[in-house]
């Protein structure tokens, strides 16, 4: 088999998978290198949104290309993940705000009118 005879779905699946690996690595580097907890909080969202969507797309493409119709099982994972990830983030942010306030450390400025304008 010559190198050009690879079916296009396999090329697309491979590209999507490597792209998701790069995105996850970027998220991990953000988790390691950002200076503050509330900044670090943004990095893992990259893995649980973009990378998860890309891997889901790749698996749908792969399992649909084997024949037997459209294989849509993995949408379920994406749906559940997109419901649970924001809840986790909100609860963790509230816990972090509470703990910082208890410890008397510096908090990020509030977002409501007066403080945001000044």
């Amino acid at each position: 088999m010559s190198p050009l005879a690879v079916p296009w779905t396999e090329v697309a699946v491979g590209l999507l998978l490597v792209g998701s690996g790069v995105v996850v690595l970027v998220a991990a580097l953000g988790l390691l290198r950002l200076p503050d907890f509330f900044l670090r909080m943004h990095a893992p969202a990259l893995a649980s949104t973009l990378a998860a969507w890309v891997v889901t797309l790749a698996s749908i493409l792969h399992f649909s290309s084997r024949g037997g119709g459209l294989a849509l099982h993995s949408w379920l994972i994406i749906i559940v993940l997109s419901i649970t990830a924001p809840v986790t983030t909100i609860v963790l942010a509230r816990a972090a705000l509470f703990r910082r306030r208890q410890a008397g450390d510096a908090l990020p400025p509030p977002l409501d009118g007066e403080a945001a304008r000044s």
Partner: protein
Amino acid sequence: MSPLLAHAITITLVLYALAMATGLVRVVRGPSAQDRVLAADFLYVVGMLTMMVLAIRYDSEMYFEGAMLMVLFGFVGAVALAKFLLRGEAIE
């Protein structure tokens, strides 16, 4: 499966392993407890992605159930830990 896809999957798994090692550094080093919870939740998500890549690698749809369970347990675990962080401080 063509060699191209096999190599792509290998590269992806290596990148995931590097990301998990980096997240583990944050779990060990994290200055505060919420940093550790955040990094552990990240490890759960990357583990779930690994399961989905393994589903493609071994051409088996059984891995999706494992990935689904990892999503659910990761959510329950992270929320439980965050709740503990809230309540543990409140009692002190």
